[in-house]
């Protein structure tokens, strides 16, 4: 084997706050909600004392999907809509990595909708943070799957006539086992949502209102501020599925954020897969089959 390998001392030092600071300063518009999401994620990783090399941040394409470049972890900035599929492969091939998937509403609910549904039902051990700004930003302002009816965008200049997706009930029905909503304007709360998501064993989904200050003139900080109601400050039972559905549909004068639903009874896919029971991550295992194993394969042909 000509593998280039190396011995590395296991890092014992606790990460510092600055450990997660990326090489590149974000190129988001000033005031973009995504700054707050990035900061919240960095804070969550710090508070969980996760070493940067143990974390893999995976994104699709879009403004918010640029996030892996702005944080100091291993990163994959994949194709539009494909972050969950790529992350699934990575998380199963190395189930000891903490895999955090980041992206936007178009990336996750539009072009990536199919993967969203199936990744949820598989209950992969992933954290999925959607920076939901209800608009396509990087393509300069077209309608998104979460744009409200009537919203004027560059692709709906006369007003959107299509019903939007409601991500919270969608995730509940899809089988996500941790379903939460955050808001860029409530960063402390968001940190808690993200920490809970990373600590959750299974598919953890956090839909985050992350206002686009350039292209979405409807759903602004000013619009959200009076409407946001924190679930943790009221009497909400996160083990009550139908209660979570009801809260998920709440919209208008009051919009709840917080943890809607948490199901710890369902095993995650890596726990259900016997291949991962022992031997560590597949990625680090000896790829060879034994003589006994290959002899058996050949004998089956006789």
């Amino acid at each position: 084997m000509t593998t280039g390998t190396l011995t590395l001392p296991v890092s014992e030092t606790k990460p510092e706050k600055s450990s997660y600071k990326g090489k590149v300063h974000p190129d988001w518009c000033p005031g973009c909600g995504d700054f707050s999401v990035l900061a919240a994620l960095q804070k969550a990783l710090f508070e969980l004392e996760l070493q940067p090399h143990q974390v893999l941040t995976v994104s699709g394409i879009g403004c918010s999907s640029n996030l892996p470049g702005f944080i100091n972890t291993y990163g994959m900035h994949t194709l539009h809509g494909r972050s969950l599929a790529v992350a699934s492969g990575a998380a199963l091939a190395n189930h000891e990595l903490k895999v955090v998937v980041t992206g936007g509403d178009g990336d996750g609910f539009g072009i990536g909708g199919n993967h969203f549904m199936h990744t949820m039902r598989r209950n992969l051990d992933l954290t999925y943070l959607v920076m939901d700004n209800q608009i396509y930003g990087l393509t300069t302002g077209q309608t998104s799957p979460t744009s409200p009816v009537g919203m004027k965008t560059k692709s709906t200049p006369h007003g959107n006539v299509e019903n939007p997706i409601n991500p919270i009930p969608l995730a509940l029905v899809g089988g996500a086992t941790y379903v939460a909503r955050g808001y860029s304007g409530k960063q402390k709360h968001l940190v808690e949502m993200i920490k809970g998501a990373i600590n959750h064993k299974g598919f953890a989904f956090v839909d985050i209102f992350s206002p686009c200050v350039t292209y979405n003139k409807n759903n602004t900080y000013k619009w959200f501020a009076p409407r946001i109601k924190i679930l943790e400050e009221e009497d909400h039972d996160t083990t009550d599925f139908y209660g979570a559905m009801e809260k998920g549909y709440q919209w208008g004068e009051e919009i709840p954020i917080g943890l809607f639903w948490k199901n710890d009874k369902l095993a995650s896919l890596d726990q259900l897969e016997p291949v991962l029971e022992e031997g560590g991550p597949l990625a680090y295992r000896d790829p060879r089959v034994s003589k006994e194993q290959s002899d058996k394969l050949i004998s089956e042909l006789l």
């Binding site: 084997m1 000509t2 593998t3 280039g4 390998t5 190396l6 011995t7 590395l8 890092s11 090489k23 590149v24 190129d27 090399h53 143990q54 893999l56 941040t57 995976v58 640029n66 470049g69 100091n72 972890t73 291993y74 990163g75 994959m76 900035h77 994949t78 194709l79 494909r82 599929a85 790529v86 992350a87 699934s88 492969g89 990575a90 998380a91 091939a93 190395n94 000891e96 990595l97 199919n114 993967h115 549904m117 291949v275 031997g279 991550p281 597949l282 990625a283 680090y284 295992r285 790829p287 060879r288 089959v289 003589k291 194993q293 290959s294 058996k296 394969l297 050949i298 042909l301 006789l302």
Partner: protein, 598 residues
């Protein structure tokens, strides 16, 4: 040398159970040490239609289903009507005289009617066993061989089923002995028992030998056999096997897996590959190695789900937008497929690029014999310049504990050491956007033509010396032949048999078989072809995809072309007759007619 070479055709409606008699015969022949080549012509339905299985056997290598049938076993009237005319003198038809009417057989054909109901004791499922028993008798094979095969094949169904089948088989064997003449030839014996496998099994086993630990796929004919084999053996071999929601998800998932350091693979057919193409570009841009097998079927669109074609060459060449290095190989048969997989995995690890395999339905679903000693799992596994966290030598690439690690370092070879996630001190972002040596995007804020050029050239440079790593094609057959037949993929074997037929007619032919499409040994190929007297390209598509590719890579234009695109593979005489036709100088394009109507 082949002392005997015979073929049996079994036909019926889908669901009539022709697979089992096919298995029984294949088993008996392989046990006897005979080489076999079985091809099942079928349609995309579960019940009804028409299915026709041809098993050819000999004591020498057999590369195709051959040209003629020696024994026809029609399980319904339709098969009798379609195929009786294929039989010539000396051949025989075995059928149930009570339910099937024989048509006008050619003179010299033995028409052997079996009282199926009586011999099978009214057991409909066992009626096929009667026909097999009579066939075994006619081939001069002792009853014990059939008894053993039945015991093995029906073992799972219990002793009672085995005993019943043996009893019914014995009835058929005795009836045949009392009423029918054996063939003028006797099924010979080979040197030692052989194994039997499909090309899809060989593909999966090749991947396993290469160390694949992650396999994802979406079911698609004719590639599903690879998924089924992997799934069946996943747990015993420690392979993660996933059926994904679509082929877009499949390719993205295996890239995610491969990125962490595991060897990851998928197999699909053309439609699935079409969905994977954007992600294949991601493998190129990330420089993350994966292997994808395309078991080609007739296209375009849904096309012919159960029929063979070599129609996807240009799609493979162009899979993914942009300009990036890839490897494309088209193994010629089952054992070649098995051996190529580890070789390709090593090359994709070395060059950090996607590896694409062109298989074909005729390989993937074709069943052939193989000497088990040829299936060698003890292969070299070379992971290239990959940095794992559990390594045991000094880090040759620098970077631990400082910020000097550059994932996409602009090296003279173009190959940059690849750290997998989990290694401390080597953090980087793999990006589908164009990026700098450290992975930083250069596409958005600070697009820099110089850096873009550098990175394009860095990736391209990896292919600079790759030709030295793969064997150049060589001529098979007499050097100064009258005609050189050029083929790629599955046609190697059938061209060899066509060469034999031509030689019998006094025409010398040789073959230049092309296995590696990318990289392409343009110089070696040009030199050989320029020295050939007449060059004819043989391929299974309409437009001459390989002929056009050869022209684009070498400027060489062949003298003649043999093409077939009716969904069925070449038979040797198709090629031999086309060559004869073209040697007269009248034709330069031959499109052989497939005589078997399925």
């Amino acid at each position: 040398m082949r002392t005997a070479d015979f073929a049996i055709g079994i036909g019926g409606a889908a669901g009539q159970g022709i697979a089992t008699p096919g298995n029984i015969l294949a088993h008996i022949f392989a046990r006897r040490g005979l080489h076999i080549n079985a091809y099942n012509a079928y349609q995309s339905l579960i019940r009804g239609g028409h299915t026709f299985l041809t098993i050819r056997a000999s004591d020498g290598p057999v590369y195709s289903m051959g040209d003629r049938l020696d024994l026809l076993i029609p399980l319904n009237q339709d098969t009798m009507d379609r195929h009786l005319k294929l039989l010539g003198p000396g051949a025989s038809v075995l059928y149930d005289g009570e339910s099937i009417e024989v048509g006008d057989a050619e003179k010299g054909v033995q028409v052997a009617s079996l009282p199926m109901k009586e011999l099978s004791q009214g057991n409909k499922l066992a009626a096929n066993t009667v026909a097999i028993a009579a066939a075994v008798y006619k081939l001069g094979i002792e009853f014990e061989a059939l008894e053993n095969a039945l015991a093995q094949i029906f073992a799972r169904k219990g002793d009672e089923v085995v005993a019943k089948n043996v009893e019914i088989a014995s009835n058929g064997y005795q009836y045949a002995a009392e009423n029918f003449k054996p063939f003028s030839f006797k099924a010979p014996r080979g040197e030692k028992p052989l194994a039997v496998w499909t090309g899809n099994e060989a593909t999966a086993m090749g991947g396993i030998a290469a160390g694949v630990k992650f396999y994802a796929a979406y079911p698609m004919s004719p590639a599903t056999g690879v998924l089924m084999y992997m799934a069946k053996h996943a747990r015993e071999l420690g392979i993660m096997v996933r059926q994904v929601e679509d082929e877009i998800g499949v390719m993205n998932m295996i890239i995610g897996a491969a990125h962490t350091g595991v060897r990851a693979m998928t197999a699909t057919s053309g439609g699935g590959l079409a969905l994977m193409t954007e992600a294949i570009g991601m493998s190129g841009m990330f420089e993350t190695p994966i292997v994808c097998v395309n078991v080609q079927r007739g296209g375009p669109a849904t096309g012919l789900p159960t029929k063979t074609e070599q129609g996807d060459l240009w799609m493979m060449l162009g899979a993914g937008q942009g300009d990036f290095p890839r490897l494309i190989v088209a193994p010629s048969d089952h054992i070649d497929m098995f051996r190529t997989m580890p070789e390709l995995f090593n090359l994709t690890d070395k060059y950090q690029c996607p590896g694409l395999v062109l298989s074909e339905l005729i390989i993937g679903e074709g069943t052939v014999s193989v000497d088990p000693a040829e299936i060698d799992f003890d292969v070299d596994i070379e992971r290239g310049e990959t940095i794992f966290p559990n390594g045991d030598s000094e880090n040759p690439y620098g970077g631990y504990g400082d910020s000097t690690y550059l994932r996409y370092r602009n090296t003279s070879s173009g190959i940059s050491p690849r750290a997998v996630p989990g290694v401390p001190g080597h953090l980087f972002v793999a990006s589908t956007d164009e990026h700098d040596e450290d992975g930083t995007l250069i596409s958005d804020v600070d697009t820099d033509p110089k850096k873009r050029r550098m990175m394009v050239e860095k990736r391209a440079r990896k292919m600079m010396n790759v030709l030295a790593d793969i064997a150049a094609p060589t001529l098979e057959g007499p050097e100064d032949a009258e005609v050189t037949l050029v083929g790629w993929g599955s046609t190697r074997g059938v061209i060899l048999e066509a060469m034999e037929q031509l030689a019998e007619g006094g025409i010398t032919a040789n073959q230049l078989h092309i296995k590696w499409l990318v990289p392409f040994h343009a110089e070696a190929v040009t030199e050989i072809l320029e020295g050939s007297k007449k060059v004819i390209i043989v391929e299974l598509n309409y437009s001459g995809q390989f002929a056009r590719y050869l022209r684009s890579e070498t400027g060489f234009t062949a003298d003649g072309f043999v093409r077939k695109y009716d969904g069925e593979p070449f038979m040797p005489h198709h090629i031999a007759e086309a060559v004869k036709e073209q040697l007269t100088g009248k034709e330069s394009l031959s499109v052989p007619v497939h005589e078997i109507s399925v």
